[in-house]
Symmetry: C2
Subunit: 307 residues, 2 copies
Amino acid sequence: MIPLEVKPTGNTEQFNLQQYLHQKKEKIEKALDASLPIGEPAKIYEAMRYSLLAGGKRLRPILCLATAELLGQTEEVAMPTAIALEMIHTMSLIHDDLPAMDNDDYRRGRLTNHKVYGEDIAILAGDGLLAYSFEYVAKNTTGVPPERVVKVLAILGEAVGAKGLVGGQVLDLEYEGKPDITAEMLTSIHRRKTGALLEACVSCGAVLAGAQPEDLQRLSGYAQNIGLAFQIVDDILDVTATSEELGKTAGKDVSAQKATYPRLWGVEVSRQKARELVDAAIQQLSFYGEKAIPLCAIAEYIVSRKN
Amino acid sequence: MIPLEVKPTGNTEQFNLQQYLHQKKEKIEKALDASLPIGEPAKIYEAMRYSLLAGGKRLRPILCLATAELLGQTEEVAMPTAIALEMIHTMSLIHDDLPAMDNDDYRRGRLTNHKVYGEDIAILAGDGLLAYSFEYVAKNTTGVPPERVVKVLAILGEAVGAKGLVGGQVLDLEYEGKPDITAEMLTSIHRRKTGALLEACVSCGAVLAGAQPEDLQRLSGYAQNIGLAFQIVDDILDVTATSEELGKTAGKDVSAQKATYPRLWGVEVSRQKARELVDAAIQQLSFYGEKAIPLCAIAEYIVSRKN
């Protein structure tokens, strides 16, 4: 069991999560910036960059890099895929925020893409980021056999499509205004809307490292557990945090009559379930011993985060 | 020079384009239908299938298959990529038709996707098709070295993104209501909006066949010429054909104050330019002799089509 080791102890030999996340995030920000120079027509590149470089936790690329490194792959080899995962995540935020969908004006403390560039450009910026994510992986991944790159691209496609993100968003729209669905139904929405891409982060990192089927099984278990914990915490924060803390409109789930875990279980039980899921995620990685400390610490972070 | 040979002569030993297109289209329709079975939630799969299986000339997949076969590759190996190209084309039509973009009610003689399923689902159906196109190629292409699959995925991504389709649509939106742009500017829009994907059809087919750089150069030349000819003929048909013939609103370019080739050059000169481009496209393939007859006949078809 690793949990004890990942708790901050003040001992400098212990793992410092804040520093780890900060270092990874810095490298990712640089790589994101370099990945998409302004081209012609400038407007579409600016719109894509506006949302791609709007900050955020960069949790998805970090998960990809950390998983690749756990299994002995270098950060350099996994970076193009990590960047692509953030492009995909950004695309899903741009499209979800559109007036025809969730109709959000703010995201990460700034105006949403369509509020700045118009709906037409926002739709196209999302399309552009999605297409570019695949192109970017295909063109920039070096140092691994090409069959691994093909596998990564298949995983990315499946995570975004109707079996993943897109299907999850459709379910989410269908159940809006029907807040009394069961926990099972709610979980099936989130497994796709949030879980599929988080699992893809881990699976892609693992595939790039030449993971064995047992590795993929353990890591998928880890990802599914943290994915659900992440969503539960998101729902809790929507109730307990302010809009300023979140960088987006708080209390939106309640006003949109959305089914949420706090609504189903109450805040305290929701917190407890998130904690259990994170413990289960960490348990999945016990096989890897100390090498899994970064991934375990990320799981801890997911449940303790404030935004 | 091949043009004389591809004209219908009644001789059964001569190439029969109608039959060729019909046979290819039938196989493609079957493969498209099989590529996307209904899953959960049914609504998104139905929306994706509604537009994907709405008919059309299937010119893009046919170009991909014909190019692969010209260079000695089998139809079977190229089919997943051919299908993906049609998914991408369909996605671009769904998103272009949205109220925030060209705001079209009819496409291929039927209501547009958002008129049937709503804007939210139409946006997601496009996203789902785009993501699935990459997944489909990555999972279903067999019988070629994986580096060719990676190259195909890179070509597809680039053709859709800001350098291709997406950038072309942005330029098109920017120049709406400004019908007096130069022929050079108009051509630069269409090279991306129509040309990039047509060129990708040919390039992907070639890459799957293990094309040499000289092959790619010749075939790109062919594709660029037919791409532009295709757009000129589209513009001419918007003026000369009825909505019924087109399956979409005719005369839309004039009412939307769009720059078009007939507006710049008049209908007759436009026809002549299209003819010259097709001749140049056919000339690019003279190296391949009789093996290039299908691609030459497709070029002829592009300039003589009625919808």
